[in-house]
């Protein structure tokens, strides 16, 4: 099992690399995959590989930060979704289960309402995302119910509060310029991502992904019943807390720079479990690669499909929902 799963993860890694190279070439200024390799070599080494300077500029200044962001956020959202699914022992849970995205969305909307800079919009969104988690944890720890159930319930309450607050911000926002900016931001898009945004989120997202990957074996144990995990001798509270913090940091970072990108965190874990294994030691890395490839591919479509760029949040739903339906129907047929 282990060897087979490891090979599958390796293949997914190669697919991610392939998708990244193709995506770097797609756009108004088309560059062939071989050309992309040359552009990358030229840009990194400084030697000439016969590629136009404009091509190097387009790839390095415009496409690379954006594709790096799509790889990072795709990977992050997928592993974050899978972590939440395992913590809450429910395959239908997505990264916004605790209301972190809703809170981060409020943070971004508030910053846009106040006319803050785009960096401040991101920082504010991240701050509110993490603040929501602190609130949820503090309140949930005061209840007497089972921890996972309290987290879900308090998460719903906090999420609902922030959702109303966002609606209120929209209500009082100037309908001519601020309201459209908020609406567009919340739709989810990678179009505005530059090196600064990437710099803001790269460290927290990469560290969180790394921690979750290293913790993957212990996260397996979170999907057992509380009694079983305790009987095995594992302190689930600590593992759960670390995992939730990492998954939340990823979700909040994603909203901070790209708004709401749905479905990735829900469907990618399903696919990787289906194709690779339920064991997080293998399904986590495969989710990382699958999520990265998926979001990069969808972003490619959002850039190339129409003259006006389609917000990626809309496209992930368009691609994700039918695919999820297909999986659901396939499963029913398999069972019967």
């Amino acid at each position: 099992m282990g060897e087979k799963a490891r090979s599958k993860v390796l293949i997914l890694g190669l697919i991610t690399l392939f998708v990244s190279i193709i995506s770097l070439g797609v756009g108004r200024y088309f560059i062939s995959p071989l050309g992309i390799v040359k552009v990358l070599l030229q840009g990194i080494s400084g030697k000439s590989f016969g590629m136009d300077k404009n091509a190097v500029a387009v790839v390095f200044n415009i496409r690379l930060p954006r594709i790096a962001a799509s790889l990072l956020l795709g990977a992050g959202l997928a592993i974050s979704g899978q972590t939440f699914q395992m913590i809450f022992r429910n395959p239908l849970v997505s990264p916004d289960v605790l209301g972190t995205s809703t809170a981060a969305s409020f943070g971004a909307s508030l910053a846009l309402l106040l006319g803050l800079t785009s960096v401040m919009v991101s920082i504010n969104a991240f701050f509110f995302g993490v603040l929501a988690l602190v609130l949820i944890y503090t309140i949930a720890s005061r209840t007497r119910r089972e921890q996972t159930l309290s987290l879900i319930l308090v998460g719903m309450i906090v999420s609902s509060l922030f959702s109303s607050a966002t609606s209120f911000v929209k209500l009082i926002a100037d309908p001519n310029n601020v309201l459209p900016a908020i609406t567009y931001f919340l739709m989810g898009s990678l179009s505005g991502i530059g090196v600064t945004d990437l710099g803001l989120i790269a460290f927290p997202v990469l560290v969180s992904i790394a921690v979750l990957l290293v913790l993957s074996w212990k996260i397996n144990l979170l999907s057992l019943s509380e009694d079983e995990a305790r009987s095995i001798g594992v302190n689930t509270r600590l593992i759960r807390a670390i995992a939730i913090v990492c998954a939340t940091v990823i979700t909040a970072s994603s909203v901070a720079v790209a708004g709401n990108i749905g479905w990735v965190g829900l469907i990618i874990p399903h696919i990787s479990r289906m194709l690779v294994s339920n064991d997080a030691r293998y399904s986590f890395p495969s989710s990382v690669f699958f999520g990265a490839s998926f979001l990069t591919l969808v972003d490619c479509i959002s850039r190339a499909a129409a003259t006006v760029e389609i917000p990626i949040g809309i496209l992930t739903s368009f691609v994700g929902a039918p695919f999820f339906l297909y999986l659901l129907l396939r499963e029913v047929r398999y069972d019967s």
């Binding site: 212990k218 397996n220 009987s231 001798g233 339920n278």
Partner: protein, 254 residues
Amino acid sequence: MTLEIKDLFFSYKEHSVLKGLNLSISDGEMLSLLGKNGAGKTTLLRLIPAFLRCQEGTIEIDGVPVRDMKLKDRARFMAYIPQITRSAFPYSVRTSILMGASNRLSMFQSPGRQEERKVEEIIDLLNLQPIADRNMDNISGGERQLVLIARALMQDARLLILDEPTSFLDYSNQLMVLERIGDLVKNGYSCIYSTHNPDLALGHSSRVVVMSDGVISFDGKPESLIGSDILSQVYGRTIDIVKTERGGIVCIPQ
């Protein structure tokens, strides 16, 4: 290894469940727990690994209070095996057994070759080879119980605590699970399990403990129950306990 329970009191709010219970279990003993619904069997079994905190009394392993032990140390002495286990993400049999090694790993460590080798040894010991590559949702209830027992062995736990291990199993699986546990007990493990089936308890244990009204009303070898009216008193109807020609002990309700 000896588990010693002294003067155990436990209540859920106003409802008193255990009222000064005393019990001890040593290596090589297979102890079955009988009693009506609500007699406190599950409460007792959950108190032993300190999943619940008793209001009064002590539970000690070789003189060390269980509640003072670290979680991972406790896991090396005992394993609690619940009635039903259903994971939202069913793992393979091998992975499920491997999970038992987690108490020996540090926070960020995954099991390695050594642990995987031990899994194979345990699979051989419990004859689980035919199902080793299957997923937990693709095996029978009895096999699932065996996998959980295998996981307990992976923990190095010497005392197996099973809450109604046979309740959802067909008759042959009930016997199979208890026989395998019996084999382990012969090799020095100890086990305490609760059951609603007195016949199974009489046929598959070295000691029968009958609980009623929060205390132990009988604690002895199955043979000592022959001809006694303990079960009749506990279950509120006449039950004859007789020895068969082949030497087995059975209950016959009148």
